[in-house]
């Protein structure tokens, strides 16, 4: 497929189909409705299925069911919808079922608004549901990256048998950019016969039970220890972009759309001779703490910019661990930090 101009939501939908996702379960919510609309038009034609669930609560449980058969499954929603899905996400993580969940974030709390936001960072990386579980969380900052991350997400979900969340925001969902979407062939993933439901015959009559219930406390602790081991193994999936960091005296840290705005500010400041760079986490969990600590030790100040009231900044502070001063700048409610505002902040730090 040649490069075509596409809307973010549609690019994510097409990328998922090209990665072999033939099943989609979802519920309408702004600003991501183009994804279920796209899926409802395409999936029946390729032998898959689109089911419009009665709620996000039902949608995520359909995703759990689809994932439990070892099938590539996706759902998409936006912030309040993800809150409703949090129960199911906890079960999916506890039962170790692969699934891809896209959150096209909007402002909160509560009904909030429909404009872009990054206020679900905590929900995504610290868990909105109950229990000690983690999601692999990926945050694209261009539509081409969103395409690649979407396709990679299915492989990661199957490889780790874990829910993977793509954290986009309303800008990413609604903007248009030129993208190239290739058919994606999965790398090495465990065969579904090795664990999934529906393969009892192939396993010679040995059944599979997918559950998170362990009434014996020792068994439940062992289950948690096993999950934590898996989350530590995910450390090797850390992805980030270090932009003009080599000689940076001031380091910016931002993800997703905010990182695009920060990049423009950095370019302008560099033209003025101000040495500023950016560490852009692509995986929000696992967080690129080691790289951030390494870069922070060579700088005076780390400025974290987010479209929320300060969430990722807590992970940055933990990673920097006093090696540099950490400060925060952000907007909430659907307002994006402007290039000018970021430049002014940097100048004020100097």
């Amino acid at each position: 497929m040649a490069r075509v101009l596409m809307k973010g939501t549609e690019a994510i939908a097409e990328a998922a189909i090209q990665a072999g996702c033939n099943y989609f379960f979802g519920y309408p919510i702004t600003p991501q409705n183009e994804i279920p609309e796209y899926m409802s038009a395409k999936l029946p034609k390729i032998g898959g299925a689109y089911v419009q669930a009665e709620s996000e609560v039902a949608a995520i449980n359909m995703v759990m069911g689809g994932g439990s058969t070892g099938t590539k499954i996706m759902t998409t929603s936006s912030s309040p919808g993800i809150s409703l899905m949090s129960e199911g996400i906890s079960y999916i993580a506890g039962c170790e079922i692969p699934a891809v969940i896209v959150n096209v974030m909007r402002g909160g709390p509560g009904l909030g608004g429909i404009l872009p936001s990054q206020a679900d960072y905590f929900q995504a990386t610290k868990g909105g549901g109950n229990g000690d579980y983690r999601l692999l969380v990926l945050a694209p900052s261009t539509l081409q990256e969103a395409v690649e991350i979407t396709q990679m997400a299915f492989d990661l979900a199957l490889k780790y048998r874990n829910p993977v969340m793509i954290l986009a925001d309303g800008f990413m969902g609604q903007m248009m950019e030129a993208v190239e979407i290739r058919e994606h062939v999965s790398g090495e993933i465990p065969p579904r016969e090795s664990w999934a439901l529906g393969c009892m015959g192939e396993r010679g009559g040995k059944r599979s039970i997918l559950k998170s219930l362990y009434l014996n406390p020792e068994d439940l602790e062992q289950h948690n220890i096993k999950l934590q081991k898996k989350y530590r193994e995910m450390e090797k999936e850390v992805r980030f972009e270090a932009y003009l960091c080599e000689d940076a005296e001031i380091l910016l840290s931002a993800f997703g759309t905010t990182a695009r705005i920060a990049r423009s500010a950095i370019n302008n400041l560099r033209n003025e001779g101000i040495k500023v760079g950016m560490l852009r986490p692509i995986t929000l969990f696992p967080f690129p703490s080691r790289k951030l600590a390494e870069l922070a030790s060579g700088t005076k100040h780390v400025l974290v910019v987010e479209m929320n009231m300060g969430q990722m900044v807590e992970d940055v502070e933990a990673a920097v661990c006093g090696k540099a001063k950490v400060s925060f700048f952000g907007h909430a409610g659907g307002i994006a930090p402007s290039v000018r505002e970021i430049e002014d902040r940097i100048r004020a730090i100097l």
Binding site: Y23, F25, A49, V51, A53, E54, S55, V57, A58, A59, N61, M62, V63, M64, G65, G66, G67, S68, T69, T71, I73, E87, G88, Y91, C95, L197, G198, C199, M200, G201, G205, R207, S208, I209, L210, K211, S212, L213
Partner: protein, 248 residues
Amino acid sequence: MKEIKIYERPKAWAKGVHTHYCPGCGHGITHRLICEIIDELGIQNDTIGTAPVGCAALMYDYIDVDFCEAAHGRAPALATGIKRTRPDKIVFTYQGDGDLASIGTAEIIHVANRGEKLTTIFINNAIYGMTGGQMAPTTLIGQKATTCPFGRDPQLAGYPMRMCELLATLETPGFITRVSVARPKYIIEAKKAIKQAFQNQIEGKGYSFVEVLSNCPTNWGMTPVQAFEWTESTMIPHYPLGVFKNFE
């Protein structure tokens, strides 16, 4: 030729296990019926169950087929995802009254209305069993429970919900029936109904729903014998047995 019938452990019953159910509970009987039917239809390797939240949460310990645990009330949605991605498999949900008629009302109505090619076994014992005897949407008027200690008052808690009748108002679902496991004569009918509900799915027909009036002597504060009698004398008059829809 004389037919010899041997009463033996169904093959689909997991080897060497005994249930944790109380004496006189209807879960064990219903589990056994499901196992016998799985054997008779020869579908053990092709059946996927969803385990509920409630007393039957551990049913995968007893029925030897693939299982996935469902969150409270969500089994119909979970099973939808399983069946849509593996339409070649026989998928069933098994839910109690708190699970299906209270927290999972949206899921059960919509699974029926979409006509998912699934089988639902609904255990109605008019009370929350596992949590210790609280009032359910199906608790009868005047029936005492730990959260209606003076008996269910319809002015405060409404009337007991008849799920078969409710679902039968929908156009889509194919087979809706209510049975009981309170007496051998009812158990024979219950088995026929559950078997048809599985057979419908094998034939690719639409959604099948079997409500089983069951007993909970522990939380009803009765002996097993009293509980079986109470089901017959008090539950069945409010929840009449019979077929409400059969692909007409």
